[in-house]
Symmetry: none
Subunit: 194 residues, 4 copies
Amino acid sequence: MRTIGSNGPQTLAAIRTKGLELLARHGYEAMSLRMLAQAVGIQPGSLYNHIDTKQGLLFDVVEGHLRELIAACDAALDGVTGARARLERFAAFHVEHHITRQEAVFVGNSELRALTPGNHAIVAALRGEYEARLIDILRQGADEGSFRIGDVSVTAYALLGLLTGVVTWFRPGGRLDSAAVVALHVDLALRSVT
Amino acid sequence: MRTIGSNGPQTLAAIRTKGLELLARHGYEAMSLRMLAQAVGIQPGSLYNHIDTKQGLLFDVVEGHLRELIAACDAALDGVTGARARLERFAAFHVEHHITRQEAVFVGNSELRALTPGNHAIVAALRGEYEARLIDILRQGADEGSFRIGDVSVTAYALLGLLTGVVTWFRPGGRLDSAAVVALHVDLALRSVT
Amino acid sequence: MRTIGSNGPQTLAAIRTKGLELLARHGYEAMSLRMLAQAVGIQPGSLYNHIDTKQGLLFDVVEGHLRELIAACDAALDGVTGARARLERFAAFHVEHHITRQEAVFVGNSELRALTPGNHAIVAALRGEYEARLIDILRQGADEGSFRIGDVSVTAYALLGLLTGVVTWFRPGGRLDSAAVVALHVDLALRSVT
Amino acid sequence: MRTIGSNGPQTLAAIRTKGLELLARHGYEAMSLRMLAQAVGIQPGSLYNHIDTKQGLLFDVVEGHLRELIAACDAALDGVTGARARLERFAAFHVEHHITRQEAVFVGNSELRALTPGNHAIVAALRGEYEARLIDILRQGADEGSFRIGDVSVTAYALLGLLTGVVTWFRPGGRLDSAAVVALHVDLALRSVT
DNA sequence: CATGAATGAGATTTCATTCAT
DNA sequence: CATGAATGAAATCTCATTCAT
């Protein structure tokens, strides 16, 4: 019943940070709250002073990241008008973000099935919102005549796949720096629709 | 008290089939052997007359699928020579296979981290073998001058991403049939490198 | 993973017996499954080869006892006709049963609130059935003119209280033997309504 | 961050009141101090500015009620002399009190086993004191010749059972008002010993 | 080759209680 | 006198796995 350091918000932040890390490394089911507590430096039961449930933690992390993603995307596209320029900007943003926030992106993609139905619905809606950005750009390009697109939806998902794969292999300090990787992907994306 | 008509190989096949299904739906950690046993219609303990461990089952399923994938890929490319034709054939094969074997592909992609280090190494080597098919094609095309490619590796992974995303959204009976989806992806892939 | 003695029905019987004992001594909330497992001589988790949940065990014990009680009561009253004789028989049966099955009676009376709403409803209905035996006898006596009763329901519950209290203090081997205690209670009950 | 208007004794009173309520509804083990704190409108830790331990709270409530019970009983019997009149008065008092203080009575009867041995001994002694009132009356009546009693102790406990059962079923606003219920019980009690 | 009962470890979560602020 | 964060123990329950029958 020692109660030495009692620092609230710091602990919550640590739970979120370490939680993201462990979720990315082990997955939701394989990450035990014991592990998380140890990583944070508290007892397992003490986690519950900061989170409601393990599921709640997952949802917080995933939902929070998706909201950030959407906001950052909108900021990146702000003021850009032509379809080509917008696609360029979107692709660059997407790859850069996926390189920077690798862990969050990975968790957001791979742990969807661990979400409660209710939470899943919310997250799925947010993902849909994000994907709609790209779909809109492609449609605009098709209408403008600047893109040649067989099917807007299929192309959008294919492009997202093309731009997202980077998450699985990129490690900072490798052969190519992030700027080069971004440029390569932007190029591939643009060529595939023009 | 053994159920009449005890048939070994059939039971093992059922374990593999249902196991794949459950692994795809719930993930390795979330699939319990109790669930699997119930799906197969036997008692949990009886599973061990057919499998060594849960980990062994995962490895069998993933490794088996990868070997099939590689063999089928080689069969598809057999006799095709030009880089462009080979890429076309590869892309078509890859998408078709990913549509047909959705579950196996999904498990093979998402449960890698559940593999023990030893098993992981074997599987990673097999994946590398498969990816080498595409890398070779791209390099050949770059050498021939038929492809314009910034970086062969990056392009290969990006193309794999582009061609693989279909796993997450395609459902038979949807708006587009599989032939159309294949054609659309082949087109995108070719345009992105030419 | 030693698995020495594997005796099914014996273990379940032991769980029921020891469970009743511990429920009577500590109450539902205070009886832990660890305690029960230790009393039975197995690991806590092994209990779940025999019971569904702790709540299920409580329900089984309580419901089982109530069904026995009703059946034994009907057997005791079988063939007895006059209200006075029936009340005498009922009172004797009730006290004797409560002396013999002290633990089960105690659990059935004191752990009702630990039952799930659904289970509670079932148990309450069974209790109602039993109480109806006494109510019928009192009503018959009132109709026959052999009993003077102010209010049948109130009298029934008061008599049940009178006849049940024995559970809290009787210990075999005390100053009075069970036959004497039964006779004293029968006498009190009869006098209070005649 | 202390809520404005911090008033000590009021908080303690609230803890006692709500505590009694929750003890009656859920039982000692099932009532958590978190529940109690929420009912009172403070944080769990703050309870400890007013109580020593959970066990202490239980003991306070039970012992306090028993002392009140005894004092009120003595007041009710004060000045009444004949055994018959005293029994009548005792029975009326007992039923009325049990109707009025249902919750406290219920807790006092059902949570005895949750008391630590030391506290249990004190409470048991107080219960003995109360029961002695009835035993004395019965003995007096037997000596006077106004009661016919087989065994004083057994009769006393039986009568207490008869008069106490009301706790389990009486709800104000039911078919009978409390005066009627009291009268019915007094009548039953008197008839059973005369 | 199937069963059913067992194990031991571990999962998430709750709890009474403490104490610096 | 209240809060919020911590503790350490314990709760119910699940799991992969074993093995006598």
